[in-house]
Each structure stands twice: as structure tokens, then as C-alpha cells.
């Protein structure tokens, strides 16, 4: 099949991961943050599959199935939470969720 060296394949996975990371750090909309997390999860799975095909075992693919499962559960619960947040705060701004802020200190 493909004979590209594994370093380049893993470099691709890392590149995609960093793309997702940059998206998480830059965007303020919660939905886009969740999307960036999906990109990161996907790239991690890519790394697993690449490694599995390198060692010619099914373990990498099995790991990818588990990542898929986790991602699905996390997305559903996360989106439900986003719905609650929208219902409560009427905005999708991530900075609106700052109740952990120490208000007295901020005032000083």
C-alpha cells in the first residue's frame, strides 16, 4: 500500500492536531470550540491507525473504534450542555461562562 515513511504520516497527524488546537484557542464561539476538539480527536485516531498499520496489527483500528465511541458520547453530551447554556445565557460566547471568576479581586 502506501510506502511513505511513518514520520511523515505522523507529522500529518500532528499537524492536524495543532490545527485543532489553534482553532480551540482562537475561537470564542462554543460550537467552534467543540468542532476543534473533534478535529483533535480525529487526528489522534489517525495517529493510532497509522501506527497499527505499521506494526501490522489490528490494535490501532480497535483503538480508533474506541476513540470514535468516546467522541460520539462526548459530542452528544456536549451539545446538550450547549443547548442548556444557550437557554440560560442567551448567547454562545464562551466568555459568558465565567462564574469561577474571583469578582472581588477583579474589582481591586
Amino acid at each position: 500500500m502506501v510506502t511513505v515513511s511513518m514520520e511523515i504520516q505522523l507529522a500529518l497527524a500532528g499537524l492536524l492536531f495543532l490545527t485543532g488546537l489553534v482553532g480551540l484557542l482562537v475561537r470564542r464561539n462554543i460550537i467552534f470550540m467543540l468542532m476543534s476538539i473533534e478535529i483533535m480527536l480525529n487526528s489522534a485516531g489517525l495517529a493510532f491507525v497509522i501506527a497499527g498499520s505499521h506494526w501490522m496489527q489490528a490494535d490501532g483500528q480497535v483503538m480508533f473504534i474506541f476513540i470514535l465511541t468516546v467522541s460520539a458520547a462526548e459530542v452528544s453530551v456536549g451539545l446538550a450542555l450547549i443547548l442548556q447554556m444557550f437557554h440560560h445565557y442567551r448567547t454562545l460566547d464562551a466568555d459568558a461562562l465565567n462564574r469561577l471568576l474571583d469578582k472581588k479581586k477583579m474589582e481591586n
Partner: protein
Amino acid sequence: MNTIFFIAAFVAFISSVMAISNRNAIHALLYLILSLLSISVIFYISGAPFIAALEVIVYAGAIMVLFIFVVMMLNIGNAKELEKKWLHRSMWIIPVLLAMVLMAVFIYALNGSVQSRTDTEVIGPKQVGVSLFTTYLIGVEIAAILLLAGIVGAYHLGRQKKKVIHRFMNQGKKPAGKILTNADV
């Protein structure tokens, strides 16, 4: 084969970048689906056809559709001005810088660590299935429980509850009639 890999890689990277930098939510999600499809191509040529199919079906087909449903439900497609204000050009500098540093570290770590193979074989669904249900059986069970938790959680959290204020809490109004106890409420 290698050219397919590089084309798919290129497409995946570009569409991911477009996905995170788009202002329209639906457009971004569509770019993301494109990225997922190109990664599925990479899976296929790496000798994991089962996973390639699974990626399209589950990831691009179910999870992204879920995203699109929520975006449509929340009706945020027209928030162009808000996004313009939030997504200022200067916000990109530091994250991109950090990412490039990380990339450099990553490439440095990867250098010469693994010998590459010249022969790869296709690992089909049967092999994956056998491994899944014998070696990693416990993982399957735990994943099942996780999905159950996810279902219950998503159902409960997605419910809209109407806020009920007991009539005792009304400001300044005295309740008429008998005093209700906990048993009555």
C-alpha cells in the same frame, strides 16, 4: 499510492484550516466533513478499509450531522457581525506561534525514530472484529456503558424545564387559606 497520500493529506490540512477560520457555522462544518472524508481516504490506503468506512459512517455521517442539527436549532447562522468582532486578525498570532513551536518540537522528536516499512498488508474487518471481541472485550463493555451514560446524560440535559416558582415565593403576597406543608406540595 504515495501521491494519493499527499493529495489527501493536503486536502485534509487545507479543509481543517478553513473549518476553524470560517465565520459561518454551517460552512465550517461542511469543510470539516470534507476533512474527515480525506482522512478516510488515508485510512483506506494505509490498509484499514473497515476504519475508513466507519469514519465516513459514524464520524462524518452521525456526529457532524448532530452538530448541524444543533446549529440549525440554535439558529446562529446569521451572526456575521458578532463573529467579525470576535475573530480579530490579531488573535491568531500567539496561538499560531505556539503551534509552530510545538510542531518544531514534534518533528524534532520524530526524526529517525522509526524505520519505515516497505510492505504493508490490508487488515480487514474480520481481523479487527476478532481482536475486538477477544483481546479487547472489556474495552467493548466499557464503551457500551459509556454510550449508555451518554444517552441518559444527553436526554436529561437536553430537556427544557420550565421554572416553577411556588406561590409562597411571590413577593409581598400572603397566601390565602391554609398553610401548605411539604406533604401537600
